[in-house]
Symmetry: C2
Subunit: 225 residues, 2 copies
DNA sequence: TAACGCCTCCTCCTTTTGAAGGAGAAAAAG
DNA sequence: CTTTTTCTCCTTCAAAAGGAGGAGGCGTTA
């Protein structure tokens, strides 16, 4: 505020002669409703411009190389190449690239991967108009912004040891309501082994029973319904 | 096709003199991204016009009375008044009103309620552009359209007996991973009674175990995560 | 090579769950 | 006022799940 006042005259002159260039935004989302919505919202801003739209992760990476936007808004769940992979590819080519992740679920397990991939911010799909615009401006200014709900998930997920491949298999069958015996048969292992994996799962998820494990797994998005 | 050919000349004349009035659409969704997206997509069509936008169910009903649109696109999950209730209110005032339900999940339990409330069609939020426009035109023409995934859910839900209040309580605690003993304590009933309710639940959900019950309940949206 | 994590399997033991039967009381619907 | 539904509780019994502890094979990495 003070800065603006101080240099108000000068700034006005500068703006008239050479207005600040708009923030160039790339949007990637396979949901046409969301994609179009973001385009409409962002295009309406004077200080922003949508330079490209992608419907999947692969297209997102290609268009990023073509247009070199200031900010990429990237959906987590996309066909061909998911959001995390897309962000990784982009940031491998240019570590300074700034990506904001779009996600429907604040419980999404992939947000951990997204942070590791270098995402600067998260936007839930139920974000308000101002949240969206604020977020873009802040990230463009070099800040990051994580919704409060995400902090706890990140903490939980970073501290918690990840499930091993086999444990993941067992968990998925658990979530389909299979019994130990059924799991053993389908995975071609003994029932004892299944129990063994289950104990590890219970420990890692910090639960006491298979039922609770299914509940937690479903809540955290560890298994697809 | 044959009809169009037959009266092509006449139709052309009519269109030049008095073009068919556009389909007047009301859109209700609390997600600004989706709302804006639909507005953008629909506004671009020559034969459609967005006459009002609502951010919650209450607003939706009010704006419907004010504008009397041909079609209302209504999100299921909205604050203040959910989609089902909004559609009920609207159709109570005018049984000829046509509503299309927007939903994120094709497993959403509320779709049964929406059908009962008189919804004419369903649109998943990952629908393609053409699906959306087709759906609106078909409903305006008096047709209905239900995505194939919905048919089975409707069949399952309409045939299945609903859970009693007590059974619902037990199911919710089940989904939180509680044991029979814990459920009994919290509900101030004996463990045998809990088991009794569980048997009814298993029968109604057509499952064999508590774990499977939680899996199915979570899939069908019978319990909130 | 040694340490480590992962997957596999074992035994012994306790607790929990689920099936199957019946049965009484209260409330809602007819 | 009946009938139906719902909720409550009982017994008995078999099966499933879970806890504790140990152990061998295998591949990777320090």
């Amino acid at each position: 505020m003070k800065f603006e006042r101080k240099s108000l005259c000068g700034a006005a002159n500068v703006e008239r002669e050479a207005p600040a260039p708009p923030i160039r935004v790339l949007i990637a989302d396979d949901h046409v409703m969301v994609l179009e919505g973001l385009v409409a919202i962002i295009s309406r801003q004077k200080d922003m411009a949508v330079v490209a739209q992608a419907a999947n992760g692969q297209e997102c990476v290609e268009l990023w190389h073509e247009h070199r936007p200031d900010i990429a808004l990237v959906d987590l769940r996309m066909p061909r190449l998911d959001g995390v992979a897309a962000i990784e590819l982009i940031r491998r080519a240019d570590p300074a690239a700034r990506a904001i992740v779009l996600t429907t679920y604040d419980t999404d397990n992939d947000i951990v991967g997204a942070v590791k991939a270098g995402a600067k911010a998260f936007l839930l799909k139920d974000a308000r108009r101002d949240d969206i615009l604020d977020c873009i401006r802040r990230v463009h200014a070099g800040e990051t912004c994580l919704p409060p709900a995400f902090t706890s998930i990140l903490a939980a997920n970073l501290s918690n040891q990840p499930l091993t491949c086999r444990e993941q298999n067992v968990l998925e069958m658990l979530a389909r309501g299979k019994s130990n015996k059924e799991i053993a048969t389908e995975l071609h292992i003994s029932e004892t082994t299944v129990k063994s994996h289950l104990r590890s799962i219970f420990f890692k998820l910090n639960v006491l029973s298979r039922t609770e494990a299914v509940a937690v797994a479903s809540r955290r998005g560890l298994v697809k319904l």
